[in-house]
C-alpha cells in the first residue's frame, strides 16, 4: 500500500495559514482527492493552523507549527502540532447553542469536526498540542 507523507515546519504567523493551505492543496491534487473532500480538508486545515498559530503559539516568533500530511488509498490524514501550553477542546462551547450563535468566535473547531471524519487532540510528552484529522476516501 502506497503512503505518501509530507512534513512542513512553519512560523507562527497569520500568513502561515494561507501557506499551509496552499501546501495542502498541492498535496491533495497529487493524491487525487475529490473536489468536495478537498474543500472540507482545506477548511479544516486553515482552522487547525489558525488555532495553532493564534491560540497555541500566540504568534510567538520562537515557536513553530509542524504539519504532517499523509495520503493512503483509504484516507488523507493531517496532523498539526503547536508548541503552546496545551489545549482542551471540551472547554470550547458549542457555537450552535442558542446563547452562542451570535458570538464572533468559537466556530473553528466546529468546522474541523464538521468537515473531517475524525478529529482527535492529544498532548504529547514533549509539550504543545497535536490535532490529528482524518478524511476517509
Amino acid at each position: 500500500m502506497t503512503v505518501e507523507t509530507t512534513e512542513l515546519t512553519l512560523p507562527s504567523r497569520i500568513e502561515t495559514v494561507a501557506a499551509a493551505a496552499a501546501a495542502v492543496a498541492e498535496f491533495m491534487s497529487r493524491s487525487g482527492v475529490s473536489d468536495d473532500a478537498a474543500f472540507g480538508i482545506d477548511m479544516a486545515v486553515r482552522e487547525a493552523v489558525t488555532n495553532a498559530v493564534v491560540h497555541g503559539n500566540s504568534q510567538a516568533e520562537d515557536k513553530v507549527v509542524d504539519i504532517v500530511l499523509k495520503s493512503s488509498p483509504d484516507a488523507v490524514e493531517i496532523s498539526v502540532h503547536d508548541q503552546g501550553p496545551g489545549f482542551n477542546p471540551s472547554e470550547v462551547p458549542d457555537p450552535t447553542a442558542e446563547e452562542n450563535i451570535l458570538k464572533t468566535s468559537g466556530r473553528g473547531i466546529f468546522f474541523m469536526r464538521s468537515f473531517m471524519d475524525e478529529v482527535v487532540w492529544s498532548l504529547p510528552p514533549e509539550g504543545g498540542t497535536t490535532v490529528r484529522m482524518l478524511k476517509r476516501r
Binding site: V17, T96, I101, T104, S105, R107, F110, F111, S114
Partner: protein, 115 residues
Amino acid sequence: MAELNIAERQAGDVTVLDMSGKITIGEGSVALRTAIRRLLEEGKKRILLNLAGVGYIDSSGIGELVSSFTAIGKENGQLKLLNLTQKLQDLLTITKLLTVFDVYESEAEALNSFK
C-alpha cells in the same frame, strides 16, 4: 491583489458593498471590519453585502459577518446579505446563522426589503 476587494455603491439610502475574494483571518476579515466601521461613522446604516464574488470564508470571516451584523444593529441599522455562494450558504446553515441573517438572491428584492 488584495485578498478581499470591496466596491461601494449607493442604491437609494442603501449602501451596497460588492465584495470579491476571501474573507479569512487577517487581511480579508480586517478589510470587512474597516469598511463597516467607516460606513457607520459616515452614518450609513442600511448595508447590503453582495457576496457573489466571495468564494471562500473561514470561521474568522463568519465571526466578522456576525460582528458587523451586531455592530450595525446596535446603531439601529440593518445588514442584509445578497448572492451567497452555495458553500457560504452551507456554512451559515450548519452554524445556524442562516436563521439570523436576512439573505436574498435578488438585489431588487433585497433593496425593497429595507423599505
